[in-house]
C-alpha cells in the first residue's frame, strides 16, 4: 500500500472533501478538495472507478474520507449537498420539466431550476431523442442528455460516472463546458477523459500496485518510459507486455538522472492515459 504524495487542491477555497489516510482497495489517499474543484478520476479498471465514485459519494463505507469534517458515509448533510449519477441507469421517463422539478423536490428536497431545465430541453431538442408511448422512452444519447441537463439545473456537487456516455462530439463539448462552468465541485470518472482536457483542476490517478496521486495536469506531467522501473516511487502504471511504464513528474533534481536512464522517455497526455495501457 502506497501513500499518495498528492497536492492540496483547495486553491484558497473552502475545503469540502478531505481524505485523511483514506484507505481504498490497495490505495492510501491523502488530499483535500476545494468547493469549486473539478476532478477527473482515472484507473486501469472501470470497476475501480465505479467503486471509487460510490465511495466518494458516501454510498459505500469508507474510512478516512470526510465532508466538512464528518465521515462521508451515509452522512445526511453530505447527501443533501451532492448527487451521484450514473449515465448507464435510466432516471427519467418524461420530458415535463415541471414534473421532474416537483418530484425531485418531493423525494430529495433538491431545488431544480425549472426555467433553465425547460430552456435546456428545448434548446437541446430533447424531443428528437425520445419516443413517446405511454411513457417517454429516451434514446441512449437522450437519456444521458436529459440526466446531464437536469444535473446542470441543481446546485449540488456532482459525482458522475461515464458523464459523456453515448453523446456525440457536439453534445460532449457542450456538456463539458457547461459542467465545468458550474460553481460546485465536480467529480467525473469512466470513459475517455480526452474531452475534459484543459478543463479539470486535477486528475486523481489510481495506478498499479497501490500507487495513486492527485495530479495537477497544468504543472505536473506524465512520461512513458521503456526498460526497467527505476523510479519505483513515481511509477504509476507498468505495462509488462511492452516493457513500458508510466512515470509521474520528474522534478528538476532528478531530471538529469531520469534523462540518462530513460533517454527515450516521452511526455504523454494524462487525459489519454488509456491509449498507453494496452
Amino acid at each position: 500500500m502506497e501513500e499518495t504524495n498528492a497536492p492540496i487542491l483547495n486553491k484558497h477555497q473552502e475545503i469540502i472533501l478531505a481524505a485523511n489516510e483514506f484507505s481504498f482497495q490497495d490505495y492510501l489517499l491523502n488530499f483535500e478538495i476545494g468547493r469549486y474543484s473539478k476532478v477527473g478520476i482515472f484507473a486501469r479498471q472501470d470497476t475501480t472507478i465505479h467503486e471509487f465514485l460510490l465511495t466518494l459519494s458516501g454510498i459505500i463505507r469508507s474510512k478516512g474520507l470526510f465532508y466538512q469534517g464528518v465521515s462521508c458515509y451515509d452522512a445526511p448533510k453530505y447527501f443533501a449537498n451532492r448527487i451521484y449519477a450514473d449515465t448507464s441507469l435510466s432516471y427519467f421517463s418524461t420530458l415535463s420539466t415541471k414534473t421532474i422539478a416537483l418530484k425531485i423536490y418531493q423525494e430529495f428536497h433538491k431545488e431544480v431550476d425549472e426555467e433553465r431545465l425547460n430552456r435546456l430541453v428545448r434548446s437541446l431538442y430533447l424531443r428528437r431523442e425520445c419516443v413517446v408511448r405511454d411513457e417517454v422512452e429516451f434514446t441512449p444519447m437522450g437519456k444521458t442528455m436529459m440526466l446531464l441537463a437536469t444535473l446542470l439545473c441543481i446546485q449540488n456537487s456532482l459525482i458522475i460516472r461515464n458523464p459523456l456516455q453515448d453523446l456525440n462530439q457536439e453534445m460532449s463539448n457542450y456538456f463539458v463546458s457547461e459542467l465545468v462552468k458550474k460553481e460546485e465541485a465536480l467529480f467525473i470518472g469512466g470513459g475517455s477523459l480526452k474531452p475534459w482536457q484543459g478543463r479539470l483542476d486535477a486528475l486523481l490517478i489510481l495506478g498499479d500496485n497501490g500507487m495513486a496521486t492527485l495530479m495537477d495536469p497544468t504543472i505536473q506531467a506524465l512520461y512513458l518510459a521503456t526498460g526497467p522501473v527505476i523510479f519505483s516511487d513515481k511509477t504509476y502504471f507498468i505495462c509488462e507486455q511492452h516493457n513500458k511504464h508510466i512515470i509521474l513528474d520528474i522534478n528538476k533534481g532528478s531530471k538529469v538522472v531520469f534523462d540518462r536512464k530513460h533517454p527515450k522517455a516521452i511526455q504523454i497526455n494524462p487525459y489519454e492515459l488509456e491509449k498507453y495501457l494496452i
Partner: protein, 197 residues
C-alpha cells in the same frame, strides 16, 4: 409516475392495504368459515407479506439511484421501522377483527393458546425478515445470494412454525433486535433507533 425507480407512488397505498386486508379477512371468515383454515390462510398471507418486505428492504438498501440522489440509508432504515410499527398495528387489527367475528358467530368460541403463539411467531418473523433484508442490502452481497438466503430463511421459518413455542418466538425476536442493532450501527441512525438499542 414519471421518475423511474427513484420515486414512491404518491397515493393512499396504506389505506388501500388496510381496506384490502379487512375485506380479505371478512371474506375468509364468511366464505370459508372454518377457523383452522382461516388461521392457516392468515399465516400464508403473512409469509407472503414477509417475503415482500424482505425484497423491498433489500431493493431500497441497494437502490443506487435513490442513494445517489440523496436518500441516506439511515433514512430508509427509519422509514422501515415506522412502517413496521404501522404494519404490526394493521396485522393485529386484522387478527382482532377475525377473532372478533369468530367470537360473534360461535357462542362457544375460545381462543386457543396456539393461536396467540402463531400470531406472535408470524409478527416476529415479519420483523426478523425485514431486518435481514435491510442487513443484506447494507452488506452489498453479490447478486443472487440474498435470494438464496431468503429461500433458506423462509424454509427455516415455515418449518419452525410447526414447533411454535413462546421461547422460539422470543429467540426470533431477539435475533431480529440484534440484527436491528447491527443495522443501526451500520447506518449510524441513533435518534430513531434509540428505543430498540
Amino acid at each position: 409516475m414519471n421518475l423511474k425507480n427513484i420515486s414512491y407512488k404518491q397515493s393512499h397505498q396504506e389505506t388501500l392495504v388496510v381496506i384490502g386486508l379487512l375485506l380479505v379477512s371478512l371474506f375468509l371468515v364468511v366464505v370459508l368459515g372454518n377457523k383452522e383454515q382461516v388461521i392457516m390462510c392468515m399465516m400464508q398471507i403473512q409469509w407472503a407479506l414477509a417475503t415482500g418486505i424482505y425484497l423491498f428492504a433489500l431493493r431500497e438498501m441497494t437502490n443506487v439511484m435513490r442513494l445517489g440522489w440523496g436518500v441516506p440509508r439511515s433514512k430508509i432504515h427509519a422509514k422501515f421501522l415506522r412502517g413496521f410499527v404501522w404494519m404490526i398495528f394493521i396485522m393485529l387489527s386484522v387478527w382482532g377483527i377475525i377473532l372478533g367475528l369468530f367470537a360473534l358467530r360461535d357462542e362457544d368460541f375460545s381462543i386457543h393458546l396456539l393461536i396467540w403463539k402463531q400470531i406472535v411467531w408470524a409478527l416476529a418473523s415479519l420483523f426478523f425478515l425485514s431486518e435481514m433484508g435491510l442487513l443484506f442490502g447494507n452488506c452489498r452481497l453479490p447478486e443472487g445470494i440474498p435470494f438464496v438466503m431468503l429461500v433458506l430463511l423462509l424454509v427455516g421459518l415455515v418449518w419452525g412454525s410447526m414447533f411454535i413455542s413462546w421461547v422460539a418466538s422470543l429467540c426470533l425476536l431477539l435475533v431480529g433486535v440484534i440484527v436491528n442493532i447491527i443495522n443501526h450501527r451500520l447506518v449510524k441512525n441513533i435518534k430513531v433507533m434509540r428505543f430498540l438499542s
